[in-house]
């Protein structure tokens, strides 16, 4: 592990964004966009960190990156993914997440609003972006938008484990779900039963009296020992995030897949049935039943194929190739990339990408080498001279 600072100050910022759409009753708690700031007490560059699919701006991965960046002297602003429930409700101009360019524009607008209203004592000398997983693709898109609009003057971008084709990456996660867990909600129930029995047995064998967070974390880690179990955990985490996005998209787009557009659910209504239905649905269902109907109605020239094609990182391949301020870190065994996508990233970015030989999807984050390389990339001293 990289060495981390002993103390990182932290503020939670809740932003009320003027373009927010009407908030559905059952999503009342997501009306404000919540981001997190760790400010230096002297002038410093600002690193904006963007979360991965469905995640808020204060995940474990974010904490690790925040500590590393703050320790290196950056102000750090961490933001939720445009596909996270709170972002969709508070900051999306559509309510239907998943379109790389549209989500990127919403994210860029939210960044401007927040940076413009930060307390004056936060003195910013430069702005860089870091994003992991889907957040990596968002970071690159946001910089490309800024290159024409010049509102934030974003300098450098580091993408960590980014996808190349959003939809083929989620397709792989769906296949992983089917392989590691099985089809449908019954498979989720089986997985739950296995985990319950294992954790209960560990608890019974221990002399603990209370089942606290530490115990659960350790027991979870002890339970997820094999690659297959890890895969199941990754696939399930992704599916649960998709469930949130699917439900919210269906509500906003009024597509009627699991909610009745004429009678949207109320605060007192049980959502368990909806959640159960959605757990069994792969991303392909979200695409065909919510995403595509919504965007095809608004983009007369578009087709399903063109929607898929516009959700690839190569829509900005020219700037990725020509602008020396885009960097990437990934691993040779990242499950969201296939070989040709990895090759495409390497050919496009040239010396500005580093590929680690281990870590899978995000597993390398926080390691000494990853942190050192990321900081070199952000400061413009990458690639290091031959040592």
């Amino acid at each position: 592990m990289a060495s981390l600072p002993a103390k990182v100050p932290l503020s939670e910022i809740n932003a009320e964004l003027p373009w927010r759409l009407a908030v559905p009753q059952v999503l009342w708690f997501d009306a404000k966009l919540r981001v997190w700031l760790s400010a230096q007490d002297k002038p410093a560059p600002l690193a904006i960190v963007i979360s991965g699919t469905g995640s808020d701006g204060n995940t474990q991965t974010i904490s690790t990156l925040r500590a590393a960046l703050y320790g290196a002297g950056y102000h750090v602003l961490t933001m939720p993914s445009p596909t996270s429930p709170a972002f969709i409700v508070s900051a999306s101009s559509t309510g239907v997440a998943g379109d790389l360019m549209r989500d990127g524009k919403d994210l860029y607008a939210a960044m401007q609003e927040i940076v413009a209203h930060l307390p004056r004592k936060v003195r910013i000398t430069d702005i860089d972006l870091v994003g992991y997983s889907l957040g990596g693709a968002h970071a690159a898109i946001v910089k490309s938008i800024d290159a024409t609009e010049h509102k934030l003057k974003i300098h450098r971008v580091v993408m960590i484990n980014p996808p190349v084709s959003l939809f083929s990456s989620v397709g792989r996660l769906d296949r992983l779900f089917a392989a590691a867990i099985g089809p449908g909600d019954q498979a989720v129930e089986l997985l739950y039963r296995r985990l319950y029995a294992q954790i209960a047995n560990l608890y019974r064998a221990s002399d603990r009296l209370e089942l606290d967070e530490n115990f659960l974390l350790s027991a979870g880690a002890a339970t997820l020992k094999t690659d297959a179990e890890f895969s199941a955990a990754i696939a399930l985490t992704f599916r649960l995030q998709l469930v949130d996005m699917f439900f919210i998209g269906d509500l906003y787009a009024k597509t009627g897949v699991v909610t009745d557009p004429a009678h949207p659910p109320k605060v007192s209504d049980s959502l368990e049935g909806i959640q159960r239905d959605l757990r069994a649905k792969p991303f392909a269902d979200y695409f065909t039943r919510v995403f595509a109907p919504y965007y095809l109605k608004r983009r007369p020239d578009a087709t399903s194929a063109s929607l898929i094609a516009s959700n690839r990182l190569d829509i900005i391949s020219d700037v990725l190739r020509d602008d020396g301020d885009y960097y990437a870190q990934t691993t040779s065994n990242d499950l969201i990339l296939n070989r040709s996508e990895l090759t495409w990233l390497q050919e496009t970015l040239g010396p500005r990408i580093v590929v680690y030989d281990h870590g899978g999807h995000l597993g390398e984050i926080g390691e000494r080498q990853q942190v050192a390389d990321m900081l070199d990339m952000l400061s413009g001293s990458w690639p290091r001279s031959a040592q």
Partner: protein, 294 residues
């Protein structure tokens, strides 16, 4: 005192209403990544040691060991929640109360010097030992009862009225229990899921347990702290101290299904703890169609 507490709550409500700017900023406790990493590593190592020691143990006394649970023994994923409509309203009320009053007050409280907060936390922890002693006795778990009694004696004297937790330093860590666990030990089912105003997730049994704990404290009325005006102030400080020590934020991930998730986790956690209480008894089979908790 009652009036002061109410005035404080009102002021917090009004202040909250004043925040109308684009950004509202809330300072939260510093993160301590280096220490967190070290603690996580130590925790994982301790857990691995404990598991290793236990498996060595259970190999030695395999005869007495209870049969291991199998996936078929796990309760179903559905939770018994006949009062769901009311519970959902209460959940929203709790979330709003937390956001508007509880959290801002706890944030302010956290600015007090650490030794003072530790003293307050230890003081209430020590008072709670009385309830633990009673309930461990009722549960007939006398080893733990003695531990709680020793803690109470040590901390009330050497620990100056409970302000210092000397007992933990003497390798007598606190393991609080309550009437809810006593009811579970006696075999009472958790009953329906219940969201209690201000307190949060519970079940009918755990709610009764909470009332039982309160009744015991009220009945014993140690040092006259639990009746009259002083009890209001004390109860408020106790609540703030507890809130400041709980790392939970309503809707932190923003998921529309948080109510379902919390209900699921709370009830499963309690069921696993119940299993631990009935170690030596044969595992009850749960029929698939009966929701968890019923």
């Amino acid at each position: 005192m009652k009036a002061a507490v109410l005035a404080g709550l009102l002021a917090a409500l009004l202040l909250d209403g004043c925040a109308s700017q684009v950004l509202s900023i809330r300072t939260v406790p510093d993160q301590t990544p280096a220490a967190d990493n070290a603690a996580a590593a130590a925790n994982a190592a301790a857990f691995a040691d404990a598991v290793a020691a236990e498996s060595a143990n259970s190999a030695a006394e395999a005869q007495d060991a209870p049969p291991l649970l199998t996936p078929a023994d796990a309760p179903p994923m559905y939770t018994y929640d006949p009062w769901e409509r009311l519970n959902r309203f209460t959940y929203r009320f709790n979330a709003r109360f937390d956001e508007a009053i509880f959290l801002p007050v706890a944030d302010t409280y956290r600015r007090a010097p650490r030794p003072i907060r530790a003293g307050i936390h230890n003081f209430f922890g020590n008072l709670a030992e009385i309830d633990s002693v009673i309930n461990y006795t009722l549960q007939w778990r006398l080893k733990y009862g003695c531990r709680s009694l020793s803690r109470l004696a040590i901390n009330s004297t050497i620990g100056i009225g409970g302000l210092f937790d000397v007992a933990t330093k003497l390798k007598l860590p606190g393991t609080p229990t309550g009437f809810a666990t006593t009811l579970a030990k006696w075999g009472m089912h958790p009953g329906p899921y219940l969201v209690i105003p201000l307190l949060g997730p519970s079940t009918l049994r755990d709610g009764v347990g909470f009332l039982g704990d309160y009744g015991a404290e009220y009945g014993i009325n140690v040092a006259g702290l639990y009746r009259g005006d002083v009890s209001w102030g004390l109860g408020t400080v106790n609540a703030i101290d507890q809130r400041a020590n709980i790392n939970f934020r309503y809707y932190s991930g923003g998921s529309p299904f948080e109510y379902e998730t919390i209900r699921f986790l709370y009830v499963r956690r309690r069921l696993i703890e119940d299993e631990g209480l009935h170690l030596k008894e044969p595992v009850k089979k749960t029929a698939d169609e009966v929701p968890a908790g019923k």
